[in-house]
Symmetry: C2
Subunit: 416 residues, 2 copies
C-alpha cells in the first residue's frame, strides 16, 4: 500500500459518511446485527490473523500486558459480537429534536441532532476497539477511520472484513469502517491534517500518543491524558464507608484510569482512619507513599516524594496526605488533579456541595466509588472515550458525544 494517501482515505470516508448519516435507526440496527453475525462467522479467520500477530509480538518481546490485550479467543470474539448487539439496544441520538422557541416574528426555531461526519480513532493494539468503535460510530451515523497499533493491524483487518461483508449486504460502502492498513507514523500525521474531511480525532493510549496527536492535529481532538483521581475523607465522613470507597477505588482494578491514586484525609480523622487504612492496605499489599503527618501509621511506607502527588500509579500503590480541611483538600486537587474524577466522602451536605461546585473535574462523586466514572456505569450505555478537556464533551462520552446539534428554522416568508 505504498501509494496510500491520507487525503484519499479521508475523502473516501467522508463520502461514505454521507451514506450513513441519513439511515433510519431501524436500518442501522439491521446492519449492526449483520455485523455481529459476520464477526461470529469470521471467528476462524480472525483467530488465524490473531495467532500470527501474537507469534510476531512474542518474537518481539512484547510485554505480557500488551500480549493479553492483543490476544483473542473464541469467547472474546463472542463478547465483541455481543457488545455490538448491546449497541443495537441503545437509543439513537441522531434526529432527536429540541424545540427552542417561536420568535415574536413567527419563525419557529428548533435544534436537531446530526452525526459529526468522520471520526478518526487512534489506539493501541486492542482489537476489540475495532469492533466497538466501528459499531458506536456507525450507530451514531458516522464513518470511522481506525488506526490501531502495528501489532494488531491484521487482526483488525480481519474484524473489519467481517464488518465490510455486513455493510455490503446492505449496499453500504466499506469505507464506512476504514482500517488504516499501514502503521507508518507519517501517514498518521498526514491523516490528522485532513480537517476538510475528518471532524474529530479520538486518541486512546499513553500520554505520549495523546500529546503527539494534540500537538500535530488540525482536526479537533478529544483529549484524555490520564486519571489521577483523589478521595477526600472529610471531617464528617463515615469512616467505614470511606474505607470501602478507598479499597474499591484502589484495589478492585488498579490499572484503570478511574482507580484512586491519592487519598486526602482531614486532620481530625487521621488518628481514627489511618490505622484502618494501614490494616486494609497491609492485607491487600498496597504500597503507600505517605506524607509526614501520616507516615507513622504505615510500616514500611515510602516518605512522599515531590513526584508522588499527581502520579498515576496504575498499580496497587497510593499517595496519602493529611490535609487541614476541605479547602486544603480542594487546593491539593486543584494543583495535582487531572480533570478526571474526584470523590468526597462526607455526611455533611454543605461540604459535599462545596466540593461538587468548586472542584474542577469531569466527574465529581459524593459518597460513591471513583470506579463508577465510566460510560456504562453513568448510564451512557457504552463509552467511546473519556474527555478531560472541556470542549464538546467533558467526562465519559457516549453516542451523543459523536453527534452535534444544528438549528432548523421554519417560517412563512419572514424577512428582517
Amino acid at each position: 500500500m505504498s501509494t496510500l494517501s491520507a487525503a484519499t482515505l479521508a475523502a473516501q470516508a467522508a463520502k461514505a459518511a454521507k451514506a450513513v448519516a441519513h439511515l433510519s435507526t431501524e436500518q442501522k440496527n439491521y446492519v449492526l446485527q449483520s455485523m455481529a453475525n459476520a464477526i461470529r462467522s469470521a471467528t476462524p479467520a480472525i483467530l488465524t490473523a490473531n495467532s500470527a500477530e501474537l507469534e510476531q509480538a512474542k518474537a518481539n518481546n512484547t510485554s505480557a500486558a500488551m500480549l493479553d490485550r492483543l490476544t483473542l479467543t473464541p469467547e472474546r470474539i463472542e463478547s465483541m459480537a455481543q457488545a455490538i448487539e448491546q449497541i443495537i439496544q441503545l437509543p439513537d441520538p441522531v434526529g432527536s429534536k429540541r424545540f427552542i422557541e417561536e420568535r415574536p416574528n413567527g419563525i419557529r426555531i428548533e435544534k436537531r441532532r446530526i452525526p459529526l461526519g468522520v471520526i478518526c480513532m487512534i489506539y493501541e493494539a486492542r482489537p476489540n476497539v475495532t469492533a466497538d468503535a466501528g459499531a458506536l460510530c456507525f450507530k451514531s451515523g458516522n464513518a470511522v477511520i481506525l488506526r490501531c497499533g502495528r501489532e494488531a493491524i491484521q487482526t483488525s483487518l480481519a474484524i473489519a472484513n467481517a464488518m465490510h461483508q455486513a455493510l455490503a449486504e446492505h449496499q453500504l460502502p466499506q469505507e464506512v469502517v476504514t482500517i488504516v492498513p499501514d502503521p507508518d507514523r507519517q501517514l498518521m500525521l498526514d491523516l490528522i491534517q485532513q480537517d476538510q474531511f475528518i471532524d474529530l480525532v479520538i486518541p486512546r493510549g499513553g500520554e505520549g500518543l495523546i500529546r503527539f496527536v494534540t500537538d500535530n492535529s488540525r482536526v479537533p481532538v478529544i483529549q484524555h491524558f490520564k486519571g489521577v483521581c483523589h478521595l477526600y475523607v472529610d471531617q464528617s465522613a463515615d469512616l467505614n464507608m470511606a474505607l470501602e470507597l478507598l479499597l474499591n477505588g484502589k484495589v478492585q482494578r488498579p490499572g484503570v484510569c478511574n482507580a484512586l491514586e491519592c487519598l486526602l484525609v482531614n486532620q481530625h480523622q487521621a488518628a481514627d482512619f489511618l490505622p484502618m487504612v494501614a490494616e486494609a492496605f497491609r492485607a491487600h499489599q498496597v504500597k503507600v507513599h505517605a506524607c509526614e503527618r501520616s507516615i507513622s501509621h504505615f510500616d514500611g511506607a515510602e516518605p512522599i516524594a515531590a513526584a508522588d502527588y499527581g502520579q498515576e500509579y496504575l498499580a496497587p500503590e497510593i499517595a496519602i496526605r493529611v490535609v487541614d480541611d476541605l479547602d486544603a483538600a480542594m487546593a491539593h486537587i486543584d494543583q495535582f488533579g487531572s480533570y478526571h474524577t474526584e470523590v468526597i466522602c462526607t455526611q455533611d451536605q454543605a461540604s459535599a456541595d462545596t466540593f461538587i461546585n468548586q472542584v474542577d473535574a469531569a466527574v465529581v462523586m459524593h459518597n460513591a466509588s471513583s470506579r463508577f466514572s465510566d460510560g456504562g456505569e453513568l448510564g451512557l450505555g457504552a463509552e467511546i472515550g473519556i474527555s478531560t478537556s472541556k470542549l464538546h464533551a467533558y467526562g465519559p462520552m457516549g453516542l451523543e458525544a459523536l453527534t452535534t446539534e444544528r438549528f432548523v428554522v421554519s417560517g412563512q416568508g419572514q424577512t428582517r
Copy 2:
C-alpha cells in the same frame, strides 16, 4: 511590555477565572452593571484614545470600512453600555442541573453546567467586541483574553480600564478581562500554545486569520471561515415569497456572513421567477453572475466563472444557477456550501423535510430569510461567534456555548 510572556498572561487569566467561576448570577449581574456604568463614565477617555488611533489609522491609509468599524462616538459607547445591560437580562447557564438517572445500584447521576475557564478572543479592529466579549465571557463565569487588531489596542485598553474599575469595586482581579497590549504576532502564536491555561480560542476575522489560528493552535478553536449561503427556490415555491427572501438575503446588508451569495432555481420555475429577479436586481443594482441556463434573463450579467460558485462576495453581487431538481440543488450546496446557513423556499413539506435533513449546514431555513442566522434572531440573546465546524457548537453561539457540562454523582457508599 517587551518582557510580556504569553504563559504569564495565560496563567494569570486562569487564576482569575477561578475567582469568577463560582460567583452567583446576582453577583455577576452587579458587576456587569458596574461595567456598563464605568464605560459610560469613561466616555471622554475612550474617545481620546480612539481619536488618536483614528488619526494614526488615517495616516496609514486604512480602508473606509475599517475606519468605520474603528470609530467610536458617544452614541456608540452608549450602545456598548446598553449591550452589557442586555447581557444582565440573559439567563445564566452556569449551575443549571439536568437529572440523568438513578441507577439500579442507587447512585444518582446528574449533569451540571460549569464555565469553560479561559476564553481567548482574537479579532480585528472592532472596539465594541472588547466590551461585548468581555461581558459575555464574564456572565458565563469565564475569564477572557482579548487580542484585538493593532489599530484598536489603545481604544480597547481604555474600554478595559473601565471594566477593570468595575471589577476592582467588587474585589475581583482585573485579569478577568485581559487585553493583550502588544500586537506582536509571535506573542499571539505563543498564546495559542497555552493549552494548560486557555480552554477555547475564538478567532473572528478574515479567512487568513482563522486559518493561521487553526493551524497553529494547541488550544481548541471555534472556526468560522465564511458564510456562503444559498437560497434554493423549489418547484413548489411561492415566487413572491422567494423574491422577498432573495432580496432580504442579498440586499438588506450584503457585507455580513448570513447574506445570500448564490441563488439556485428549480428549472420549472426559471421562466417565471428569473424575470422577477432580473427586474428587482436591476432596481437594487445587484451584479449578477449567471449560469448558461439563466443568463438570457439578465442584461449585462457576467457569465458564471468557476470561482463564482462558493464565492463569498460580501457585496451586492450574486451567483445564479438553474438546477434540475432538489437533488441537484443539494449536490450544489454539498460541493460549494460553507456549513453556515442554507435556505429552501417551498410550499411542499416533503421537499422541505428532505432539504432540512440532508443539507449539511449549521442553520437550515425553510421559508425564512438567511439573515435570521444570528444569535439574537435565533433567541440566544447575544452571540459570541458562529461555529461552522461541528465540535462543541455548530452555528451561532450564545452564553451556553461558553460553558460545558460535568457529571455529578451522589451515592450512599456504593462500590463496584
